[in-house]
């Protein structure tokens, strides 16, 4: 299943810390040899400050800890201390609820007040940022998130405030605080749209990052898939996907399958995109959509669907296991398969007049009675305009045509209003002319 693994494609667009969950997931799945993953982890950690963790992994690999790691640990501790000292006055202030109550919504006034009454100047505020960053590097995400939040309310450096937003966003993701992360995501997106980037390329990069990071959020929130479609189908972002991050199409496609009903209008556009990018990116999910909506190849779709299942289970974002009453369930997979099957069936019905239930039950992997019940249910909930002919064992579709008389009524409807307006205009104009 390594062929569909996208960790390598995604990783460059993530923060180091965000890659960890991905690696852990891979480790669980056992797609790659374990020691390779561990080595990758060490490499990843080498540039962060999570030295203890790194030493653990190293020990498990080689049963010893190299000296440089010990040195590095000491260095990290020292640096942390130094930064803490620098930022101490401000932190003390911020941790005192009485004092923070004095803060007003006005940034300048706050700064003035801090400076006058507590001798806290810009260098302290900057130190807070450094400290927060360091905390983040050490893996203390909640601390980092708090400090970054406070830093943002105080700083006047817009560049740093912007990167503080990223930091906060990452920290929220790592703490698995999804609603907080979604909030940060929204703010970040806003900031990005209003920000002036030094070059279009930087802007594009920022967008790519945002989209990758948002995957964490959207596939963990209940309504996340809709938001994902909204975000990704935005022209600017779609353009970025098409030029820089084709692999994101997988997630968009998966989201479309799951919430097809709500985005019926968009799906046509998306199919076009898939066709356009067919030569650069394809995987079972996009191919499934193609089979279904471009080629109307139901057998093919069926095959692809099976591949999709494997793919989903091996994808970090899509195949995350959840526990429900002690059982491990793959919520997204179930949802996906159910919707995909329904979509196939709908499309199939759309172009058929009569369908053999036996054949249908084969295709849907159900036995005859289940299939009949399933169809009957669909008809009952008026999701399907059809009747079952049980003697021949077929479903007969109802045929819909726009009624000509309806058309006529539709077209004549506005005429009355128009005539009315006309008459009123004439009436209005009469005195003027007289």
């Amino acid at each position: 299943m390594a062929q569909f693994d996208q960790t390598l494609k995604i990783a460059p667009f993530l923060d180091r810390h965000l890659v960890f969950p991905l690696l852990e997931f891979l480790q669980d799945k056992g797609i790659y040899p374990n020691d390779q993953i561990l080595k990758a982890k060490i490499e990843l950690l080498a540039k962060t400050n999570m030295v203890d963790y790194m030493m653990d992994i190293h020990r498990s690999l080689y049963d010893e800890v190299p000296k440089e790691m010990m040195d590095r640990r000491a260095e990290v501790v020292n640096r942390l201390k130094a930064l803490e000292d620098l930022a101490a006055p401000l932190i003390a202030f911020l941790q005192n609820p009485q004092m923070t109550a004095e803060l007003k919504p006005e940034r300048q006034a706050n700064l003035q007040m801090l400076h006058d009454r507590y001798q806290i100047g810009p260098e302290h505020i900057d130190a807070l940022y450094q400290y927060a960053k360091f905390q983040f590097e050490c893996g203390n995400y909640s601390g980092a998130a708090d400090f970054l939040y406070q830093y943002r309310t105080l700083t006047i450096n817009s560049e740093k405030a912007y990167s503080a937003m990223w930091g906060k966003f990452a920290a929220e993701i790592l703490m698995q605080n999804w609603s907080g992360a979604e909030y940060e995501l929204g703010k970040l997106k806003e900031a990005m749209d209003s920000k002036n980037f030094s070059s279009p390329l930087v802007q594009v990069q920022n967008r790519v990052w945002l989209m990758h990071w948002s995957l964490f959020v959207y596939f963990n929130l209940e309504s996340g898939r809709h938001s994902l479609i909204d975000l990704f189908m935005n022209d600017r972002y779609l353009h970025v996907i098409q030029t820089h991050a084709h692999h994101l199409l997988r997630y968009l496609a998966a989201a479309f399958v799951v919430c097809k009903r709500k985005h019926r209008g968009n799906i046509k556009d998306f199919i076009k995109v898939i066709q356009q990018e067919h030569h650069t990116y394809r995987d079972p999910i996009t191919e499934f959509l193609e089979c279904l909506y471009v080629n109307y190849d139901f057998e093919g779709a069926q095959r692809k669907l099976q591949e999709c299942e494997d793919l989903i289970l091996n994808d970090f974002f899509l195949g995350r296991p959840e526990t429900d009453n002690g059982y491990i369930v793959y919520k997204f997979r179930d949802e996906f398969l159910e919707n995909a099957r329904l979509a196939m069936f709908e499309t199939y019905c759309k172009i058929h007049q009569r369908i053999d239930i036996g054949m249908l039950s084969d295709k849907l992997h159900m036995n005859y009675d289940d299939a009949e019940r399933w169809i009957a249910n669909l008809i009952n909930f008026s999701r399907l305009d059809a009747k079952i002919d049980s003697k021949n064992g077929t479903v007969v579709m109802g045929v819909q045509h726009t009624d000509v008389y309806e058309q006529a009524i539709e077209r004549t409807k506005p005429l009355a209003t128009r005539t009315y307006v006309l008459a009123r205009n004439i009436a209005e104009n009469l005195p003027v002319r007289a």
């Binding site: 098409q242 030029t243 030569h279 650069t280 909506y293 471009v294 080629n295 109307y296 190849d297 499309t347 759309k350 172009i351 058929h352 007049q353 009569r354 369908i355 053999d356 054949m359 021949n392 077929t394 579709m397 045929v399 045509h401 000509v404 008389y405 058309q407 006529a408 077209r411 004549t412 005429l415 128009r418 005539t419 307006v421 006309l422 205009n425 004439i426 209005e428 104009n429 002319r433």
Partner: protein
Amino acid sequence: MSKFWDQGVDSDSEDDVKSSEDADDFKDIVTPGEAGNKYLNKTSDSEGSEDEKRVVRSAKVKRFDEMSATIDQIRNHMKINDWVSLQESFDKINKQLEKVLRVTETAAPPRIYIKALVILEDFLSQTLGNKELKKKMNSSNSKAFNYMKQKLKKNNKIYEAEIEQFRKNPESEAEDEDDEGDMSSEESEPDFIEEVQDVAPVSESDNEDGWQKSGKGPSYIIKKDPSEITWDMVDKKLKEVIAARGRKGTDRVEQVEQLTYLVTIAKTPAQKLEILLHVVSAHFDVTTSLNTHLPVNVWKKCAHSMMAILDILAQHPNIVMSENAEPESENETQKGDDYPGQIRVWGNIVGFVERLDDELFKSLQVIDPHTKDYVDRMKDEPAFLVVAQSVQEYVERIGDTRAAARVALRRLEHVYYKPQEVYEAMRKLGESQKTAEAGAEDTTLVLGTPDLPELSRTMMDDLITLIYKFGDERTKARAMLCDIYHYAIFDDFYTARDLLLSSRLQDGIMNMDILSQILFNRAMAQLGLCAFRTGLITETHACLSEFYAGGRVKELLAQGVQQSRFYDKTPEQEKLERRRQMPFHMHINLELLEAVHLICAMLLEVPNMAANAHDVKKKVYSKTFRRLLDIYEKQAFIGPPENIRDNIMAASRALMKGDWEKAVAIVQGLDIWKLLRKREFAMDMLKSKIQEEALRTYLFTYASSYDSLSLDQLMAMFDLPEGLVHSIASRLMAAEEFHGSWDQPTRCIVPHNVEPTRLQALAIQFVDKLSTLVEMNEFADNARTGGGGGGTDFFSRHKDTQDYVGAVAGKRERGGERGGGGYGRDKNQRGGGERGGGGGGGTGGSYAAGYQSTRYQDAYSSVGRTPYQSGPSGRGGQSDGGGRMGSSENSGMERVLSYGDVLLRRRDVELLHPPNFINDHIIDFFFSYLSSSGSSDVLLVSPSTSFWITNCADARDLAPALAALNLRDRQMLLLPINDSADVEYRSSHGNLERGSHWSLLVFHRPSNSCLHFDSLDGANDRYARSLHARVSELVGSKPRFVSAATPQQENGHDCGAYVMAIAAAVKKGFESDVEEIVKRERSMLILLKVMQGVNDPTVNSFRPVETGQACVILSCVVIASVILSISQFCDKAV
């Protein structure tokens, strides 16, 4: 053209003469150490060249003969004091001078020329003194005299010194007088040397000991032992030589020689460099015109000089060349080899490279591609690449990245269009030239091997990376286009497409320079071909359809000049266009392009036509294809197809019937495919595409005749696999293009056949009529209240319904295009649209079908004179003066006067005040006023009808439409002509209704002629001629076309008034005395002037008023009174 060749031959022979010398010169550059020996060689050389000069002597003698003949003429003219002819002769002699100078290769004018100047000057001053004589001269003569006075003064200033000398020494003149022809060459030589002195008289006096004046050839400049020559001397001389640059009378070729010699005696490398730079510029000076190219050998010398420059720069890294260096900064170049610091020299080597490239390009444009010359010239390409590469290395070394990007682009543009095979050939050529270096020095230019990597892609990537990093916007854009082109050639469609899309070039390309636009077009064409080879029909069509929409393929790709049917280009435009042409080896085969385009259009359009056969609001993929198919089908006899177009049309017809086998056979049988790479693949692709489209067409066309269609049968019919048939049919059903569905158990398609019943169809029709009624009511109200009533909400609603009404109109009009093409754009247009929709039902709206905008319907309906013809015309061009329109919109719609069925509105009347153009409404009004009386033999055609006749696309529609006018029974037709440009041009540029000039065409049956009265002579000639052609068909005889002498308007806006006045005069004239019209043309001027109240004294100089002119006067008075009454009416209304 012939002129060009003449010159070319001339200069070539000259160059041959010199080439032996020059070859020596280059050795000098390479071995500066041997200057002493060289100097000796030089003298012998120059003797040799003297010998050679005698070879061309005959030509020289001829030139001198010509010149002396001219002088004789001048003398004769003087005798009769004819300054007009003198002026001509003077111009002539100046031209001859140029020729002589070219032959003699000197900078000095021959003595004989100076003599002519002296004579003229004397005569001039003599005449100037003689007041009486001057008085006697008539106007043209005195004008010429004044002209000569100034010109001679200017001219003589250049030759001041010579003239003085001549005056001092008139004896020699007397001697020479008898045989001026013979004095030519020997005579000119001593003169020439003196001339060289005169160029720099100051230095001469300062330096008398240093300079000598004798000898021949470039070495005369410094007649000294090379060892004695100092830097100062060389520098001074150099300054003198370059000071002469660009002056009139400086022989450019001579200058090159002088400079080349100076190179050999230069003292320091820096100086040598400086001189070399001047040598290159002097080479470039040899041709001054933008349209001729540098002779090939001069080009090669240039390239050599540039390599020499680069050598110096490479050897002496302390020499810096920049454009910022002060050219005057003294003595920089004196610093010798060992000077430790920077030496700054002024120069722009990148500019030279670009110029060199341009010249190569130009020569390839001009040389006939089917000759060996062309091939030889192509062989110089590697040489250029060497130079460019070295220059690029140099500028990169000095860190001028911007310039490096520029040079890189030049290199890129020599590579991008070459497929791998061609590139390989060039690479081999470069290598073989290297091996052949020793032997063939003269024939091919060898400068080393260009460093060409094995794959052109590698080179492209290197260059493009550099350009993206450092280039400016234009350079980058061009590089990007080259890149796209290159990817397209290499069949990498997706990469090319993504590049194009992500660069967003297509958005901004309209704002770029024309050359880049051409490059863009080329890239698009290539991309289209690439898409075709990849099998992507829709993409191909998207890439190519624009080329064929306007029928200007050649122009768009710069592969030849296309003559437009609708307007002639000025010579300047043509010249410009020629300068942009692509050399032959870069061409994209147009036939192939057309075939590919038409096939794609066929594959898209045929099923589309079948699908929407009965639909009014149908989508059209390719208008071009539709038109061609229409034309093809209208042919009475369809012969066997001959050209590509016919073939594809035949294939289309087969395809329309579902006969895919025939279509495939025809399409695959085209010869042109041998030019297509990946031919087998393309053929297979075409076959399967045609099969698929045939299936679709078949389903659309014949499904209604079936109750069920079996899948197996379809598979057999179209030889397609089951999956594909199923997929195609399913797609059609899902998209609801085809109404039907599968019956899964029996494997059949069941068409639903949802054709409406008769009652339903009638119901729909009734609804249509109702909406039209409401629509018309709204218009009526709108017209009455001047558009103010409904305000914006009316307006916007109107827009919503426009499609609908358009559709109704279209339906009635034999499925023409939507009636309201430009509908709802402004209030005028709406007037037009209304008639299209509502009134078009009159005599037969069907003739308005198929044209591109409202205004044909507009024009047409005025023939039928429907009651709705009250809206102002769509042709607001002359009247809508931008902002004016907005302010007067409400008040301007008031009716002022209605006469018969013509209605004048306030805004029309306002146009009568002078600086406005008169619009077609006024003319229409006036015409109907005129035609209210008099015989029915004369027909005044309304402007809109006339416009329609001129511009309607299909002449065959005309005759039946105009039947009501009984054109064949009329004795005289008066047709106003407007110059609003041709239809296609306007619609493609979105600027409609922009005419600026009126004129009148009168068909006169008794004399069987069409008289064109144009108050700006010739301005409307082209339109008049096209109208004449149309009229000839309509009236049944073949009248001749006469540009009648017409009174000329004095300002820019009276053309309309003239047309009316002339029409009135002609009509009256016709009714009184038919034969008089032509005679009277000129005298009408007087009347018109009287009418305008212009008092011109020259009027009196014309012939006295003839009889029968009273009526003309009368008509003018009538106009005046009408205009007067109208304006009075306006005043009252206000």
